[in-house]
Amino acid sequence: MGALLLVLVAGSAHAGIPIKVVDTEIALPSPPDIAFSSSDENIIAYRHPGQNVLKLAYVTCNSIVYETLYDEGTPGFLPSLAISTLGFPSVVHRTTSDGFGSDGLRYTLDGGGLLGLQTIAIPGAEDGQMAVYAMDTVDRPYVAFRQANNRPGFAHFDIQSGQWVVQTLSTSTLGAAGRYIAVEVNHQDQPVVAYYDSNEDVVIATLGSGGWTTRRHAVGSLPDSGNLSLVLDSVDAPYVAICSSTELAVLRFNLLNVTAQTVVTESNTRLAPHAMGIDSANRLRIAFYQMNDHSLYLASNDFGWTTTLIQSGLTYDPAASLAIDSQSRWSVAYYDKTAQQIRVAGLDVAPSVRADFDCDGDVDADDLTHLESCTTGPAITQFTAACLNADLDDDNDIDMSDFAIFQLCLSGSGVPADPSCAE
């Protein structure tokens, strides 16, 4: 199990959307991936090049907890994250020089105190890269990736043999140098893979009881460095987002045909594989990078497509990943090369007051109850993880000095607390 570290990072607002710094000193591009826990906590997987580790960050309104998932060799390139029904995160990533005999795709499971922290090389995915990972309702993992020969690959864990099984989905190669492959799971727990191949088609492959069935749709030439993103709606119709030379578009694979929607008519847009999400009302959300104005946007199709600026002034593709929580709220994790930071934007990460322990915007009797339950007295270290946020003066104990800060922030029930109250 990796070491846990509790750090509070001040938030900053951009264009009305709360943004929080997740980690710093990320000197090299590091595309993150994001998912929500069952309690709607943001979980972000990313490679920290300076620390040379694959990390997880658990982001709540008033804290970030870090965990090192893997630190062997040169780990954690292009991580893809999924959360199990018991809340255990697992990540598929590319790692080199870690002693598994060959570089390639790794599966890391953080099984907590029950199953422990384990990493294995996915057999047959030697030299695999650019993996995208999804999990079905009973926690079976499915991985779509670019094989060494640039063909679309698919890996799943076969419980009957206790082994990973790797397949090549097509004799055609993927269409360009980008990731251009994604996987999701439909409501029948069948994996659905979307990829863009050398025929300049977007292909949808579904694994049913009779094997793979495929559909394809011609889309023309797509940029070399691009990706596609895949989601399935409530009737399992695949939506595929692609960036062409003229627009960001979404294809819906209907029963009999394919319909296309233009999201934005702009050249030079970019997507990450998990850039698109769909909520319970079938509303799409897409995080995309506009290279022309160096900005990250959110596109929403509530009543026609609208775009909202998340952050401007980016100098490199932020490889933004998007997730939607149980209340249809979105979060976007991305890389800011200028600031050398991993950041997360969304309503769930709204800046808050440290003394607002329950993250409801006020500091009231409920928060006082938490402080009292965590009190240790002077110079007595608080070890309970759930109480570490009560150490408001950062001296490891929970005592009267913490209570004094709490009093400065006390606002009363339903009254927004002053974010600068503790300064």
Binding site: S90, L114, L115, T119
Partner: protein, 349 residues
């Protein structure tokens, strides 16, 4: 991992393991490999721990055992295995006094056991274990070999051996009255009770080397039984229902693992192949006195755990999947351990 539905967890005695030696071990198969945890020291005599297991509605796994006059209980959680002592007993540590476990609604564990031949049931209310002694009007409320399950209406069912045969007792957990009836006047050396998805009860009965399945006939208004096999090597059996309500069980007889299921037209006997499994290179022949415990996963695929291999003195714990479909059972080698108490989590009804 959703260990209560997708990924199997096997409980066994790690007697020969260099790391988990003489411990009751829980091993879960995950996509990252086997994850094993030592739950309980098993030093002293006897070596067996008489484990029985169950699964909760949220995927948690519970297990109970008898060890040195203590009834132990453990269950999985995201934080790890939570282990506690349910009660101390005054009887000898043998299989006829082994406890059984199930979950009431809300995933409240309930454990049944025989304490000096009194049948007791202990339920956990998230604070303490509350224990009561079985008291039914027929007077047949003392015995051994107790087995238990909970139906969809939170009714606790018990089957147990008395001096006059096998009895079944039932109680709605929100009420205090038990009702009881005789299942068979024959004796039993092992019992396994399970409720199907329609709350039908079944009891697998081992009497010496004979195996039978008892079920309640609503037409006749009494329990009836189907003889299934004689001369079996297993001294324990797990009865399990799949989601279609079909009862199934597995056992070792004459050097082969048998998987029996009744899909409505009588019992089908599927025999797992023996010898070298071409797919895995494992010798999948069971040792003659192995148990063969059965569970169904979330997709109704039967999973059987048993001890086998080419060296009976140093057997391997094997998992076999889907024997009636696959011409060759795909077997996964768990580890090399000595024979001891073995349990596989079974699917909740």
């Amino acid at each position: 991992m959703m260990t209560g539905a997708t990924w199997p967890t096997v409980f066994y005695n790690g007697s020969n393991s260099p790391i988990l030696q003489n411990k009751l071990v829980a091993s879960s198969l995950t996509p990252a490999g086997w994850s094993s945890t030592g739950l309980q020291e098993l030093t002293g005599s006897p070596a067996s721990s008489f484990v029985r297991t169950t699964a909760g509605s949220d995927g948690r796994i519970g297990a109970t055992w008898l060890r040195e006059n203590a009834i132990g209980f453990t269950q999985s959680s995201a934080l790890g295995w939570q282990t506690t002592t349910v009660a101390t007993v005054t009887n000898s540590n043998d299989s006829q006094h082994a406890p059984d476990v199930a979950y009431l609604s809300g995933n409240r564990p309930v454990v049944a056991y025989s304490d000096n031949d009194s049948i007791k049931v202990a339920a956990y209310d998230n604070l303490t274990w509350t224990t009561e002694t079985l008291n039914i009007k027929t007077g047949n409320d003392t015995g051994t070999h107790v087995t238990m399950d909970v139906d969809s209406q939170d009714r606790v069912g018990l089957a147990y051996q008395t001096g006059t045969g096998v009895y079944f007792a039932l109680r709605n957990w929100t009420q205090s009255t038990w009702s009881g009836t005789q299942v068979t006047p024959s004796s039993a050396s092992h019992l396994s009770l399970a409720f199907g998805p329609n709350d039908q009860a079944g009891i697998a009965i081992i009497d010496g080397n004979d195996l039978s399945h008892a079920w309640f006939s609503t037409q006749l208004g009494r329990w009836v039984s189907d003889p299934l096999a004689s001369g079996i090597g297993s001294n324990r059996v797990n009865l399990a229902f799949n989601s279609q309500g079909h009862p199934a069980l597995s056992y070792v007889s004459e050097g082969k693992v048998h998987y029996r299921i009744n899909e409505g037209s009588g019992w089908i006997d599927a025999v797992l192949p023996i010898g070298m499994d071409a797919a895995t290179g494992l010798t999948v022949t069971p040792i003659s006195d192995s148990e063969a415990v059965l569970a169904f996963d979330a997709n109704d695929i039967p999973v059987i755990a048993y001890y086998g291999g080419s060296d009976p003195q140093n057997p391997q714990l094997l998992l076999a999947y889907d024997p009636p479909v696959a011409p060759e059972p795909t077997a996964a080698l768990l580890a090399m351990f000595g024979l001891a108490g073995l349990g596989l989590r079974r699917r909740s009804a």
